[in-house]
């Protein structure tokens, strides 16, 4: 085997600093490429290569200053915020666990299409409020719904589905997702003038409990 006498050969070379310089001068290219290949093998074993994340550069800050746990209180707060854009995407909303107060709160800000007991199954919902006015609201049961279009200087895309099919309770502004994206009602409060996301929250209604995620 070629590596059998390597130790003796190295000893016979009597490697001092001068010798090392000579070896490096002679084999600098081989040494550099051996190190590069060695590094590549190490990287492959550790799989450390990460893709560059560039979309995040454009992502707006999410302030999330509010800490309301009750859904009806939260909606009441929103009803007073006329300067913001309020984007809602409901995913698999189960009305069996939706309280009368919660429903009334939503209806009070203009989403009158929602009525308790009307639905036998879960529903999907998309709603948009701009400066206090409802500019879009749509419901679905089995199929998917979406809204896409300009919102001032931005492009808005909201999608929702009624049943457990595709996990689509998403709210995108300029192709960047700001919603928490899970079952229940996803709300994004957007301050377009200051280019800030004031809040992004998810209310999930399961077995009579309300889980809040930010």
């Amino acid at each position: 085997m070629p590596w059998m006498g390597i130790k003796e050969k190295l000893e016979s070379l009597n490697l001092g600093v001068g010798q090392m310089t000579k070896v490096f001068r002679k084999y600098w290219l081989e040494i550099i490429f051996s190190l590069l290949i060695f590094n590549e093998v190490l990287c492959a074993i550790g799989y450390v290569r990460q893709e560059i994340r560039y979309r995040d550069d454009k992502k707006m800050n999410i302030e999330s200053k509010w800490v309301d746990d009750d859904f009806d209180q939260y909606i009441e707060r929103l009803s007073e915020m006329n300067e913001y854009e309020i984007l809602i995407s409901g995913e698999e909303i189960d009305f069996n666990y939706f309280s009368q107060n919660d429903l009334m709160a939503l209806q009070s800000i203009g989403f009158e299409n929602l009525e308790n007991g009307q639905f036998v199954s879960t529903i999907g919902f998309v709603g948009i409020i701009r400066e206090g006015d409802i500019i879009y609201q749509e419901l679905c049961t089995n199929d998917n719904i979406y809204y896409s279009g300009r919102l001032g200087n931005h492009y808005l895309f909201i999608e929702s589905n009624g049943t457990d099919m595709k996990n689509q309770g998403n709210i995108y502004i300029d192709d960047i997702k700001y919603s928490v994206d899970t079952k229940g009602i996803n709300i994004v409060v957007f301050d377009e003038k200051n280019e800030v996301i004031v809040d992004s929250v998810n209310y999930c209604f399961v077995n009579g409990n309300t889980i809040v995620r930010r």
Binding site: L29, F33, A44
Partner: protein
């Protein structure tokens, strides 16, 4: 000149061709009634293929009978490798077909098209092979026969270049064959993707250039014709390889007068240039529009659109919207451009002027947001060389092809055709072997270290880069020019690859062939030293 030796194989080839036509062998695969231009072209090229094949067979048999050492070893290497590939084909029967390659089969099956999307060369080549063995796996059998010929040629030239001793030691023979089992290359040679054959033709071409240090030492007209043919194939078949044509023409021009007369130089360059332009024109005419070029820019373009500002970049976005539907882009924020192109009607109907404006707008956005463009390209490159976790392999589709729940639309259409030999011998074994080949265990999880090392393209790429720089420092200009044509593919592919796929960098597997040559030479030298020591003692 003895012309009689060409007569017998020529007659056999013509008879063979006539028998195929009389018995309508091709009708086992092709469904047609009228005669189209594709039909006439394929039949004509099939005749040429048979004549060349029979002539070559007789030539090799004569050489072997005369006891030519090089040819005898060549036949041995050919047989060993071909038998090995046949075993693989039987295990994974009917092959590692995945998606696009199945559509190529479907598109060419009526002689109505040569499937220009995957290049007219691909459709023509497969249609010719199907004349001989008219079932999908027939392509793979003949393809691997051609590949075995290339492998045998490359090994012989490797022995010549490194001054290796020929030995029947199975360990040394295995070491010589090992680079030709490089998983990314091995995966495509059992599929109908053009890269399966292309990478070996490319290897053959580079070996022909490298092995003749004085360039075109063997300059008979038949050799020059064959060289020109290979050069055209390699330069035109893949967009990023057009530098080979420039490189070959330059090397012919500067080659030594003693080896090639000026007239022969002119004839060869003329053949290559004409062949290059006419075949490129043929492909362009068949494509009919710019869609094929468009898909190269779709991924970075979509990322730029997503990053751009709807107000300040309004003009550029307007131009892009004429070709790619902006609404579709914004409605699918989670999809890549390529996925949207195929599944979401991203592309609009556009005019030539609109396409030009689209390109201008795209370039403007690239200049305005260079980070986005470079980052997107870099991520795609990482996937392409199998360094990123998100690397995409066609083998995923190939492994699942016979699963009960597989939704491969192309395969459904193939099954409807009723071609012979499309059922696997064992579904389970086929799936396991293909999955293992791409580094996936029985539970469907990646075997990380195996996958990252065996599919890693950067390691052989570094070896090629080393030789390129070494040839520059040692002023070996022929080698430097040849390897430059290879190295220049890296930035071209970086710029235009539509998706992160290992296929675009397969030729860099050549680095392992060179490495194996060095290792065998080291072993040879070591053995020589040992023997000398024994003699001295």
């Amino acid at each position: 000149m003895n012309h009689r030796k060409y007569l017998l194989p020529g007659v056999i080839a013509i008879t063979h061709w006539l028998i195929c036509q009389i018995f309508g062998i091709d009708r086992l695969f092709f469904f047609y009634e009228g005669i189209s231009y594709a039909y006439i072209l394929v039949k004509f090229l099939f005749l040429i293929f048979l004549v060349a094949g029979w002539e070559f067979l007789f030539y090799v048999v004569t050489k072997v009978k005369k006891g030519d050492e090089e040819f005898r070893w060549g036949v041995l290497y050919f047989v060993l490798y071909f038998l090995f590939t046949i075993c693989i084909i039987i295990i994974i029967w009917p092959g590692a077909w995945a998606w696009d390659d199945l559509y190529t089969l479907l598109n060419i099956s009526g002689y109505k098209s040569l499937d220009p999307w995957h290049h007219v060369f691909t459709g023509t080549y497969q249609a010719i092979l199907l004349q001989l063995l008219p079932f999908p796996t027939g392509i793979l059998i003949l393809q691997n026969m051609i590949i075995s010929g290339c492998v045998s040629f490359v090994i012989l030239k490797m022995e010549m270049l490194f001054g290796l001793k020929r030995t029947r030691n199975p360990f040394v023979i295995l070491l010589k064959f090992l680079p030709f089992m490089f998983p990314p290359v091995f995966a495509v040679q059992f599929s109908g993707y053009r890269m399966g054959i292309y990478v070996y033709v490319e290897l053959l071409f580079l070996t022909m250039l490298i092995s003749n240090q004085k360039f075109l030492k063997n300059n008979s007209y038949i050799y020059l014709l064959f060289f020109s043919f290979i050069c055209i194939l390699v330069s035109v078949w893949r967009t990023e390889s057009f530098f080979y044509f420039i490189c070959a023409c330059f090397l012919i021009l500067v080659s030594d007068k003693g080896f090639m007369s000026f007239a022969k130089k002119l004839i060869t360059i003329f053949l290559i240039v004409m062949g290059f332009f006419f075949t490129s024109l043929w492909q362009k005419t068949e494509l009919k529009n710019n869609d094929y070029m468009l898909i190269n820019f779709v991924n970075p373009c979509i990322e730029l659109v997503r990053y751009s500002n709807v107000i300040s970049d309004e003009k550029e976005l307007y131009s892009i919207d004429k070709v790619l539907d902006l609404d579709v882009i914004h409605r699918n924020p989670q999809l890549t451009g390529e996925r949207m192109y195929w599944y979401k009607n991203l592309k609009k109907t556009y005019t030539k002027q609109e396409y030009k404006e689209f390109l201008r707008a795209f370039i403007k956005l690239c200049i305005k947001y260079p980070k986005v463009f470079i980052a997107e390209r870099w991520n795609t490159f990482l996937r392409g060389v199998e360094l990123s976790e998100k690397g995409f392999l066609n083998l995923y589709g190939a492994a699942r092809l016979y699963d009960d729940n597989d939704k491969n639309e192309a395969m459904k259409l193939v099954k409807e055709k009723g071609w012979i030999g499309i059922k696997p011998i064992s579904r389970e074994i086929r799936k396991k072997v293909i999955s293992w080949g791409m580094g996936i265990n029985e539970k469907g999880q990646d075997i990380h270290i195996y996958r990252r090392l065996s599919w890693n393209i950067v390691i052989p790429m570094l070896i090629i880069l080393y030789i390129w720089i070494k040839s520059l420092t040692q002023r070996k200009w022929n080698l430097f020019i040849i390897f430059s044509a290879l190295i220049i593919k890296i930035p071209i592919v970086f710029w235009i690859e539509p998706e992160g796929n290992t296929q675009y960098f397969l030729i860099f597997g050549m680095g392992y062939i060179i490495l194996s040559g060095y290792i065998i030479k080291l072993l040879d030298n070591h053995n020589k030293n040992q023997n000398n020591k024994v003699k001295l003692n």
